[in-house]
């Protein structure tokens, strides 16, 4: 360890207590979890221990000793450079390799022939390594796996990927050490247990670095032009420009790629002198450009970068002076993280400017300030029983060495995600892979995994192995379409919903260019350059992330505590509250407000429980279901973090609603289950599942015609399973995920208990209220109907003929 301390000295640094703690624990052979923010020296806290251990050995280390897992490719470069720097000084001949989706074939082949001392990689590339035939030999010398930014992975299916790979490596490397690095989380203990396992040889290290963070809301001069409904936040463009001018460098965080593109354009339009000093950074942009932006930002060659979560993490941009957050960050944790991108000088406070895109977000601003002041950081809910990820992992092993079910089963059961996996479910999964069904059938040509004579489960068919290797790593949240010029030339990828609203001939902005959409075909968007200045802006649907439970509590506090009305945000809101009170009320803590009004769209019934998007999505569906039992009726539902709306073409009777006690917590789970089945909330969840489990194959690049016959949408699979095989575990998983992840089952009971204490205030309004506005204009909707298709068509028919 003295050599590590020595090295720190030569750098002119002094080791911090948490770094020393990590080194000691590491050398004592412990697993551990380090809680430290970005830019605190967390990389060397772990790497110092790893170096010290290698230096303690008599012989020079051989083979791959350390594996460093990071969620983002951009981060991987940083880590590789930092670790290589220390390694070069202490163990001059040892290399640190980098392996991500961007790594060339030649480099990968070399890494395979002569494994570097350390390898920095992503969860997906890690799994690709596990799909090779000699991976056990490759990992033979492995001492440690470090999982960086664990808080980002936990609560995603990539987190489950990490759990599986850790458990699997431990099964043949019993002395493997596992370390995690995480920002602060609400559920620290659970986060640690999930990564490290249930053992006792664990050490928790706290960096104890508290950064001062200031959240400042950007307020318009007059509220008259302030939109009721969230969109892009453009009305505050002048204020943002002023902030940019005032600071040397700034990051502007947006929630979606589309929003990012538009902000970039508008800033440049408004301040042409920014040309050359402004850049854009999001996940769909070409890698080369992204790397250039990151480097330029570090070297202070850029003044402002408009970005999405692609710049949330890790990468250290010390010179950034301030951050602007456009729209709700949806959680205290995320805002802290983003604020942390600026003001890296020790003890300097980070300021983040919060730009509300609509009036209601002003209340959020107050809630966020409170949350940061009291450090109320949210939990991350881990996924359990993700059969899709497990099937993908089993295939990964099967295309490599193959696996023996009896040996693998206990390994899987030791993970947090699959601790409750039953024998029946395990048999189902194996049958799914081998037979494609649960019973032995005649004349079936199903081919995927074969059972060899010695009982090894293995993929023999080359085409299947190849297709699988291409799908490892397709754990993404939205379907990505490739954007290409008609004459060839690849521009990047774009999320499906972004183009879904566009028609051929429409002009949109992508990677800073104006492009005309020619057609969409087989997951490709074919475009050509356009000179048209009139670009279409696909309406931003708002991040589909839910408020955390914390934030919704904070929100209620902000709304209900009268002393808050003194703050600048509430002063700005006063005219809107006044308008709200004219038609309706601003509910008090003991009131549940329900508003009813009619527009030409139909009858709107809006509920305001203030419990966050996830809970409201479930409640909307539940209420619609219960009402639909009273009469044949069709609903279109929308939800946000404040409430939800049931829209119908006919009114349901408020008295009947109250008399039948539809807000009751009785039979809650039963009714929810039924409403999920009917409303098809699970359909959206199924898309990921179909891709991850390999049902939906997106085709090889430059595919021969053959693979085109294998293309099919996840929606079609959803329908097929629903109609013909509803006990399919993947279909069931979609329902379960909707239940568990979407709506936080436990919290649902509490919400209904609380509602039972409230007085229902039913307000009939003559027009939409300010509170209702974001809801009734939201176009992402769920449906639920108890009418027959025939009746519904006849009604639509009737309405059509009446209109004309």
């Amino acid at each position: 360890m003295t050599s590590i301390q020595q090295w720190f000295k030569t750098q002119g640094w002094r080791p911090q207590p948490f770094q020393k703690q990590c080194w000691e624990a590491y050398l004592a052979g412990k697993n551990g979890m380090l809680h430290a923010p970005t830019g605190s020296g967390k990389t060397y806290a772990l790497w110092g221990g790893i170096m010290a251990e290698a230096l303690n050995q008599k012989a020079a280390p051989k083979g791959l000793n350390a594996l460093w897992i990071t969620p983002l490719r951009a981060l991987a470069v940083e880590i590789q450079q930092a670790t290589q720097r220390m390694t070069s000084d202490l163990l001059p001949n040892q290399k640190i390799g980098l392996r991500t989706g961007d790594t060339s074939q030649a480099v990968r082949a070399k890494q395979k022939r002569t494994p570097p001392f350390g390898l920095v990689t992503t969860p997906e590339s890690w799994h690709v390594l596990l799909s090779t035939k000699d991976h056990q030999k490759y990992f033979q010398q492995l001492q440690v796996v470090v999982v960086d930014e664990w808080h980002e992975l936990l609560g995603t299916k990539r987190g489950v990927q990490v759990e599986l790979a850790v458990a699997y490596l431990r099964s043949f490397l019993p002395h493997l050490k596992v370390w995690g690095i995480s920002a602060t989380l609400g559920n620290k203990a659970l986060a640690q247990e999930i990564l490290l396992g249930k053992g006792t040889n664990h050490q928790t290290v706290e960096a104890q670095i508290q950064k001062k963070i200031k959240v400042q809301s950007l307020l318009p001069k007059s509220m008259e032009r302030f939109p009721w409904r969230g969109h892009l936040g453009m009305h505050l463009l002048p204020q943002v420009l002023r902030i940019i001018k005032k600071n040397k460098t700034a990051l502007v965080f947006t929630n979606t790629r589309a929003q990012c593109e538009i902000w970039f354009h508008r800033l440049l339009e408004e301040a042409p002198d920014l040309a050359g000093h402004i850049a854009m950074h999001h996940g769909s942009i070409d890698k080369k450009i992204r790397l250039w932006v990151e480097a330029a930002l570090r070297e202070e060659r850029l003044k402002v970068v408009v970005c999405t979560s692609s710049l949330d993490l890790g990468v250290d941009f010390s010179p950034v002076e301030c951050c602007v957050q456009v729209g709700s960050p949806k959680g205290v944790g995320r805002l802290i993280q983003r604020a942390g991108r600026s003001g890296h000088r020790p003890k300097a406070a980070s300021t983040i400017y919060f730009l509300p895109t609509h009036a209601m977000e002003l209340i959020e601003a107050v809630a966020l300030q409170k949350g940061i002041a009291t450090q109320q950081i949210e939990d991350r809910t881990p996924y359990i029983n993700s059969y899709d990820v497990l099937l993908q992992f089993l295939m990964t092993l099967a295309v490599g060495t193959g696996f023996y079910p009896q040996q693998l089963y206990p390994v899987l059961r030791a993970t947090f995600s699959f601790q409750t996996l039953t024998d029946q479910q395990w048999t189902w999964l194996l049958n799914f892979l081998v037979k494609g069904s649960q019973s032995l059938e005649h004349y079936d040509e199903y081919k995927k995994v074969e059972v060899l004579e010695d009982g090894c489960y293995k993929v023999v068919h080359r085409g299947i192995a190849m297709r699988h290797r291409m799908t490892i790593g397709t754990i993404v949240s939205d379907a990505d379409l490739k954007v290409k010029f008609q004459k060839g030339g690849y521009l990047g990828t774009v999320e499906e919903w972004f183009v879904a609203k566009l028609k051929p001939g429409d002009v949109f902005t992508f990677s800073g260019r104006n492009l005309e959409l020619l057609r969409m075909h087989n997951m490709e968007v074919i475009v050509r350059k356009s000179k048209s200045k009139k670009t279409k802006i696909p309406a931003w649907m708002g991040g589909r992330m839910s408020f955390s439970a914390h934030l919704s509590d904070l929100l209620k506090k902000a709304l209900f505590e009268p002393d808050e009305e003194a703050t600048a945000e509430f002063r700005a809101l006063a005219p809107i509250f006044e308008q709200q009170r004219k038609e309706s009320i601003v509910p008090q803590p003991n009131q549940l407000l329900i508003e009813r009004f009619e527009t030409k769209e139909g009858i709107h019934t809006v509920f305001y429980p203030f419990e966050g998007y996830a809970i409201h999505e479930a409640m909307a569906s539940l209420m619609a279901y219960r009402i639909s039992l009273l009469q044949p009726i069709s609903f279109s539902m929308s939800f946000n973090d404040y409430g939800f709306e049931l829209l119908s073409d006919q009114a349901f009777d408020p008295q009947a609603f109250m008399d039948n006690n539809l807000l009751s917590g009785e039979h809650l789970m039963e009714d929810l289950q039924k409403s999920i089945n009917i409303s098809e909330m699970a359909r959206r969840r199924f898309r990921d599942i179909a891709v991850i489990s390999g049902l939906v194959f997106q085709g090889f690049p430059n595919a021969p015609i053959k693979s085109k016959h294998l293309q099919s949408g996840s929606q079609l699979f959803y329908d097929v399973f629903k109609d013909y095989e509803s006990d399919n575990l993947l279909y069931q998983q979609a329902l379960e995920e909707t239940f568990d992840h979407g709506m936080e089952r436990g919290r649902m009971f509490q919400v209904f208990e609380r509602m039972a204490q409230q007085t229902v205030v039913w307000k009939s309004c003559s027009q939409p209220t300010p509170f209702s506005f974001p809801l009734i204009t939201d176009r992402i909707r769920s449906k639920l109907s108890s009418e027959t298709v025939e009746d519904r068509i006849k009604k639509m028919y009737h309405q059509l003929t009446q209109d004309s």
Binding site: E445, G602, S634, L695, H709, V789, E790, I793, Y797
Partner: protein, 213 residues
């Protein structure tokens, strides 16, 4: 079932997606995509096998409802290469006393001799009584086109932001497009113009939409 007239011929639209020509006792079926489930399964994608039986159930229903002498397949009868579903289909063909004609579609890559060996006539297109039957929607000066390929569907909007997506028969001035008859097929949404007639399929009925204004 819904009676209509196409280019002067009386026709019946069946809720299964079949078009029936009473005068000729002929059923027209587009885009059956047999063997699709099998093709997916052969390549390691576990589509439920129950789908394989849907075509035969639907045919049984059609034969119960209508007197049939001849079937004209408007292409994409089989989804891809030959697989075990071929044998299921052959067995069914042998039990039928029907005249079977296949107009070849882009998916029909099984060599035509194999269809012919089963007694199925294969042709690139078919002309009868001024009607021109093809797989692809083409345009002809003097003939009315009846075709498939598109898997037509339509989005209906109603009050209260209600929406339904349904398969449909699509009747335009020189063309009539059939919905896909196969069970494991998607929809391609079409935008009707004021002169187009659209007949949507519910599982029980065929309903004509009012003309768009």
């Amino acid at each position: 079932m819904k009676a209509t007239t196409i280019a002067g011929h009386k026709m019946v639209l069946h809720p299964s997606g079949a078009l029936y020509w009473p005068e000729k006792k002929t059923v027209l079926l587009a885009d059956v995509h047999l063997g699709k489930a099998g093709h997916f399964r052969k390549n390691g994608i576990a589509v439920p096998r129950k789908i394989e039986g849907v075509f035969y159930q639907k045919m049984q229903q059609l034969q119960n409802d209508l007197p049939i002498r001849r079937i004209l397949f408007l292409g994409d009868l089989f989804h891809s290469d030959k697989n075990n579903e071929w044998f299921l289909f052959s067995a069914w063909v042998k039990q039928q006393q029907l005249e079977l004609i296949l107009i070849e579609g882009n998916h029909d890559i099984i060599p035509r001799q194999q269809f012919q060996a089963l007694g199925i006539t294969t042709v690139p297109h078919w002309e009868e009584e001024g009607l021109y039957f093809t797989h692809y929607p083409e345009e002809r000066e003097s003939l009315f086109i009846i075709c498939g390929h598109v898997h037509p569907g339509i989005r209906l909007n109603g009050k209260g932001k209600q929406q339904l997506k349904l398969p449909c028969f699509f009747h335009s001035s020189k063309q009539f497009i059939l919905p896909a008859f196969g069970a494991f097929t998607g929809l391609h949404l079409l935008q009707p113009t004021p002169t187009d007639r659209v007949f949507v399929l519910t599982s029980k009925e065929v309903l004509e939409l009012p003309p768009k204004t």
